[in-house]
């Protein structure tokens, strides 16, 4: 029986946590932009998570997860140091095309900072000038500022409440970057769909290539179920095997956001049942007091939970 042991864990906030999982073959194979499908226990669901980092020497991969639904909250409770995940499959998806661009802007919205990191690093290692833009609701939710900053030539921080950096969303950071640099070759944007949509709109008029990483619902992640189909221009693509990176100017984000709500009813019910069944000491305070279910509308792993 395979074991996917958790060798390190870090909690960034009440809802955001990092797991470092031992998987030497995956650590060797992983490329920027790829994802894994995780199953935390035999009765669990298969959830796609973008690989936030990999350490080929240590033989580990890193996942950054936001507790928004039943599965991710349960993992937050159960995935302690030394425990194991039931299944980790991947690396899935076509690796990001890290091209010859000389000046690149890597934009991470909230949790999206984690999956955009490997691409920023790859561009940096390739000799590009990397501008990082990170956006959070507030200063307390920020993570990896140093780690991300280290692979950027310039880092622009945006917070909704102005508690750090520019007050505003990442699109404010994009405007700033476009103002200061007229030679940007490419934007790489990862975050909640609505944020990626906003960024794609912000760069469209400037005709700068903008790649986004899509996170639709998936079952197998190998091109077999078609649940992750997305509209790219006039074509229908499967994010798992044709993506997950696509040209942001061609993506139909409204379609993506509608499709992410496919199981809202069932997900709400599952989260509610789970919250009711485990009022125990190990549950973070915020989950007990906040009315979690009504607010966790969108089952989007990148979406930030209010109050987190």
């Amino acid at each position: 029986m395979q074991k996917f042991e958790i060798v390190a864990r870090e909690d960034f906030s009440d809802v955001t946590y990092l797991l470092e999982v031992r998987h030497p073959l995956m650590a060797k194979a992983a490329q920027p932009g790829q994802f894994v499908i995780v199953m935390s226990h035999p009765e669990g669901e298969r959830i796609p998570l973008t690989i936030a980092d990999y350490d080929r020497e240590r033989g580990t991969i890193t996942l950054v997860i936001q507790a928004v639904g039943k599965t991710t909250r349960e993992m937050q409770r159960d995935c302690v140091l030394g425990s194991s995940l039931y299944g980790v499959t991947g690396p899935m998806g076509i690796p990001s095309h890290v091209g010859k661009a000389k000046k690149v802007v890597c934009v991470g919205g909230g949790l999206g900072v984690a999956p955009v990191f490997p691409q920023a690093r790859a561009y940096k290692e390739g000799g590009a000038y990397v501008i990082g833009i990170v956006g959070f609701r507030s200063k307390e939710l920020m993570f990896w500022q140093d780690k991300f900053g280290a692979v950027c030539d310039q880092l622009i921080v945006c917070t909704d409440d102005g508690s750090a950096g520019i007050k505003g969303m990442v699109t404010a950071g994009i405007k700033k970057a476009l103002r200061e640099h007229d030679d940007i070759d490419e934007f790489v944007v990862i975050g909640p769909p609505v944020m990626m949509k906003g960024c794609a709109e912000a760069t469209r008029a400037h005709k700068v290539k903008t790649m986004v990483s899509l996170n639709p619902l998936m079952v197998d992640g190998t091109g077999m179920c078609g649940g992750c189909r997305v509209k790219i221009g006039s074509e229908v693509k499967f994010a798992c095997v044709d993506g997950p990176d696509f040209d942001g100017h061609l993506v139909d984000f409204d379609d993506l956001m509608t499709r992410l709500r496919r199981f809202t009813e069932q997900e709400k019910a599952a989260a509610q049942r789970w919250s009711e069944n485990c009022r125990m000491a190990s549950v973070p305070q915020s989950l007990k007091t906040a009315p979690p279910v009504e607010e966790a509308e969108l089952p989007d792993p990148f979406d930030e939970v209010p109050g987190g």
Binding site: E45, T89, P91, M92, T222, G223, M224, A270
Partner: protein, 501 residues
Amino acid sequence: MAKKKTIRTIPRERTPMREQPPEERVKNFAEVACGFGQEDALREAERCLLCPEQPCVSGCPVGIDIPGFIQKIGQKDFRAAYDVLTDTNLLPAICGRVCPQENQCEGVCTVGESLEPVAIGRLERWVGDKAIAEGWAGAPYIEPVPYRVGIVGSGPAGVACAADMAKAGCDVTVYEAFHLPGGVLRYGIPDFRLPNEVIDAEIGRLEKLGVKFECNTLVGRLFTIEQMIDELGYHAVFVGTGAGYPTMLGIPGDSLNGVLSANELLTRCNLMRAKEFPNYDTPLPLGQRVAVVGAGNTAMDAMRVCRRLGAEKVYCIYRRSRTECPARAEEVHHAEEEGIEFHWLTNPVEILDDGKGGVRGMRCIRMELGAPDDSGRRRPVPVPGSEHDFETDLVVFAIGTNANPIMGQTSTLRLNKRGYIETDADLATSVAGVYAGGDIVTGAATVIEAMGAGRKAARSMKAYLGIRDPERPYAIDGRGATGRMFGFDPEERNFARVRVG
């Protein structure tokens, strides 16, 4: 023994098999067909004439010695019947359930010329089930050979190939991307047709042969086919990844939230156990009125799953007529019994939006049959002005699949223009030591055809590795490593001529 059987002396009717009554079974996922008892099997075995022509054997894609195993049943030597079966087919409990026997062995049965054909599939299943119940395993002693064989995909093609290579003494590892082995047998075929316990038992028997199963392994991405040969130490590799890339119709509305592929529905339900939600975490789309587009076995499975999940109305929408319907006869019959409404010669043109991202209905057009197409079936053409609407809240597409793209994206294997792997007659691919078979070579076909391909590839791999094949001492097809010896083709080889040199 007794005097020769004739068509006049054997029982005229096929032995009936007990089934769950339709009104009961639509409320559960237990198996519909309950199988033969021993008395049933003995009576049915009596119906086989053991005719010398044996058309059934050539009707079987893997050439099972059908009269041979039926004769052993008749002699009450059930273990021997099992051994005869497993000489050619390692998964009788599965094939007895899912083969389209009416187009294969039973379709050409001599008895079938004047009476109902011998129920070969039911007998095969009975022997397979008995072996599972009794714990019989094949191949007690295997002489090891120093070769490692990697199999990509644990579906029917992969396991058939794995079994043969293990029996030949190789060290065999099967890689599966899902968390459980079985491929389409596991994710595709519902419990009421093929219970998971049967798959577990058959996989368990392969493990007893020494086959190792590595799940959660996406070959191509975690490591490539080429790396298996160059770095991981495999002497030969078989690729049986199937053709599971589902087709959507490409009509307006097919990205609405109530529209999904049969693959997705079945995977959620069968593999992920979504029917047991919330005890299992995977959710299922729910529909009260379900329209399933297509009429193959997958469509039948999808419709019957929806019925069991509580859908009031389930429609089958198929653009051709019943005659062209590709599903197994028994499945169509069972679906009809379960109250599925069939709409033949009907084709969807648009899926109607409920204004909230879901489905309100489906607009269809009537079809009529025109001149025959490439497949030899009469081509359906739309009847102008015959549009009509169905009220439905869930639409399931079961209209076929394409080649999975991962192998093409990650290897140097030569593909044809439709994305399937190109092989020669021995199922060798363009990369030395790598063989392929099943749906990823032929396009979507049946379980037994995939198993046949897995076994055929195993023969070529044994030849490639230079393993003597006791089943076919001289007849090694074509260009394998031992194809020519001392300058003679295998057919011409004999001791006299070799001595001349």
